[in-house]
Amino acid sequence: MNVALFSQLTTLGSSVVLLFGIVLLCRRSLHAYIEAFRWQSLVLTALLVVVGQFGDAPELYVVAVVFFALKVVFIPRYLERLAKRVGAEPESEPYVNITSSLVIAALLVLLAYAVMRPLVLASQLPTRGGLPLAMGLIFVGLFIVITRKKALTQVVGFLVLENGIALMAVLGTFGIPLIVELGVFLDVMMGFLVMQVFVYHIHGTFESIDVEQLNQLRH
């Protein structure tokens, strides 16, 4: 089996995944967010399959299936419905405007590279090239959650963050033990459900999903 090709593929795939994360940054409409997220998840699924194939980790197929069902099919569709329900008003100007967001994202990726240096050195895996990108994606997801003002966009940012972790897990360790993985999926789903419940609540009580107005509790 061709290791070089394997590492090529994984690096390519992870950079594409990160790319979608950054694409997210420069979009406004909620719809675009969800689309980008769906595509990202799709690529990630593919990556799972690849790794499962090359790195002879059969249980990754199972993971891939669940992942696909959850993050490519279920969650995006649900998000769309949610967006319709609460009225998908476009993301108002975020705390950091798009151009500087991109700059910051770049810096974050650099930081990720710097931070992940020892891991890359420590491992002999063919997939190690993608690890910094995964960390970068985690940082970007965090950045989105921090800077975006709509509850829904924050949810998306959070999901991107989780994708980043999934990416790191699959690249670094060819997937964590299956039972843990399943538990994680359970959490992700429940967490997502709870969050969308609260998006309803916010919309119900504040007549908007703008998080800025959640500033009554102080000190």
Binding site: A57, V115, P118, L119, A122, S123, Q124, L125, I138, L142, V145, A151, Q154, F158, L161, E162, I165, M168, A169, G172, T173, F174, I176, P177, I179, V180, G183, V184, L186, D187, M190, G191, V194, M195, V197, F198, H201, I202, G204, T205, F206, V211, L214, N215, Q216, L217, H219
Partner: protein, 485 residues
């Protein structure tokens, strides 16, 4: 078997609450009764540990494991859960919730308890993470029982901040696992704590450093370590009092438990210096933030929440002070659990009577509800560290550990900050307890016997303040053996 007895009851009660609709009072009582079972199981674990037997494990690839540390936490969690369930709304006494809300409350509170118990009994650190994450989800469902702007805001902040934080903790887990795999291939029980621990000395130090940072920040968010504590006052002030009692009393403890677990592994990898430094730093910062946030405070539930942050900081400092400190820290944890859960339950009574969480709306508590007032006063005296309550002893031990490990400067700072918090807390509670009750507040105790369970907490505190029962001491010593070799 014992594990089933520990975990199953809460699941069962959640199931009951789900199936029986609309909510009936009997369910509440059944849940409370069932929680006693898991308390018994937890105590049984403590006994087996003290008997000196090997830490029992359970499930495929030793999914669950109960060593001394777990046993200690199990007992705390189960005890507080029982107490909280006995004080839950919907146990006959009049309350402001409708049946649907009560049903939701009982479903998710029990799931919450289950998640906490699972977190402390999980052997696999991945499962531990999953459980901790689950606690966020379940508790977040209970906070806005009555949909108000404040409660929605609080719970949204809570769920988002905690989820983000916990996710970071997962990054840390993955990093550690990555290093383990890079070292000794992929095994199914790789994430089991003992396995990790045995492999730890050969792990890459620099990787473990990164991992620990992620884990500390992540679980620290859950534990309410400043500056990741921001969700805590909001959530505690808005949640139903039994829930705040559990969150402040044991949820923070569970998060600290997770940190401790990882600390042991990391220390095995790169020596205790690194983690101790970080813990001392963040702990001191937490104490500082909490102490000064107490000075100007208008809301008594937030006041209690900040004091929880203060004590979390103290426990972190203790964890960072070597064996003596660890002993003190866990003693402190036990005492704080007892005191704070009691205080939050009482604050629920106060809120129910005064219909306000504002400090200046509450006065003359000792006149209005003599027993509640007296207990509240006892609790406050306990958490500010006055004798004859346990926290006086544990704080003394903690400070002594600091001096013994040659950190007088740090300890001086801690003492000064504690004094600030002391005066602030007493000032506020003075205003609550004494003075003339406001108009329109019905005088007289509600039902006196409901307070009975709380006298258990008080007596525990007093006993711990005057002596240290041999079993507890033995357990704590074993914990020290586990945590700081």
């Amino acid at each position: 078997m014992n594990f089933i007895l520990l975990l199953f009851p809460s699941l069962l009660s959640a199931l009951l609450a789900t199936l029986v609709r609309p909510y009936r009072v009997i369910i509440g009582w059944a849940n409370a009764g069932l929680s006693l079972v898991s308390l018994g199981a937890a105590l049984a674990f403590a006994v087996t540990i003290l008997a000196g037997s090997e830490a029992p494990t359970f499930g495929p690839s030793e999914l669950l494991r109960a060593d001394s540390l777990s046993a200690l936490l199990m007992v705390c969690v189960a005890a507080v859960a029982t107490l909280a369930l006995f004080f839950s709304p919907g146990l006959g006494r009049e309350n402001q919730y409708d049946v649907a809300q009560l049903r939701r409350y009982h479903v998710f509170v029990n799931l919450f308890i289950f998640a906490m118990l699972l977190a402390v009994s999980a052997n696999n650190v991945g499962i531990m993470w999953v459980a901790v994450e689950a606690t966020t989800i379940f508790s977040a469902m209970v906070i806005p029982l009555a949909l108000t702007k404040a409660s929605v805001e609080a719970s949204w902040k809570y769920i988002l901040i905690s989820s983000v934080g916990i996710t970071l903790a997962f990054v840390g887990t993955v990093l550690a696992y990555f290093d383990f795999v890079a070292l000794s291939g992929r095994t199914d029980n790789a994430l089991n704590w003992p396995v990790l621990l045995s492999a730890a000395p050969r792990l890459h130090p620099e990787v473990m450093r990164l991992a620990f940072v992620f884990l500390l920040v992540g679980f620290g968010t859950k534990a309410g370590i400043a500056p990741m504590h921001t969700w805590l006052p909001d959530a505690h002030s808005e949640a139903p009092s039994p829930l705040s009692a559990m969150m402040s009393g044991v949820l923070l403890a569970v998060a600290l438990y997770a940190i401790t677990r990882w600390k042991v592994v990391v220390d095995a990898a790169l020596g205790p210096a690194f983690s101790n430094q970080l813990l001392l730093l963040l702990g001191l910062f937490s104490v500082l933030v909490a102490a000064f946030s107490l000075v100007i405070q208008r809301n008594y539930k937030r006041m209690l929440a900040y004091s929880s942050i203060e004590h979390t900081g103290l426990i972190c400092i203790g964890l960072g002070l070597g064996p003596l400190g660890v002993f003190a820290a866990f003693l402190h944890l036990v005492c704080h659990t007892a005191a704070k859960s009691m205080l939050f339950l009482l604050s629920g009574e106060v809120l129910h009577r005064y219909r306000s969480t504002e400090l200046e709306r509450v006065s003359g508590l000792l006149k209005v509800m003599p027993w509640t007032g007296a207990l509240f006063m006892g609790g406050v005296l306990a958490i500010v560290g006055l004798p004859p309550f346990g926290l006086f002893i544990s704080e003394f031990a903690l400070i002594r550990a600091g001096f013994a490990t040659g950190r007088p400067g740090l300890m001086a700072a801690v003492l000064a900050l504690l004094a600030v918090g002391f005066v602030a807390l007493l000032r506020h509670s003075n205003r609550m307890l004494y003075g003339a009750p406001p108009q329109g507040v019905t005088m007289g105790e509600g039902s006196r016997w409901r307070m009975a369970p709380l006298f258990v907490s008080v007596s525990v505190l007093v006993v711990l303040g005057l002596t240290l029962p041999a079993p507890l001491e033995a357990l704590l010593n074993q914990v020290v053996k586990v945590v700081a070799k």
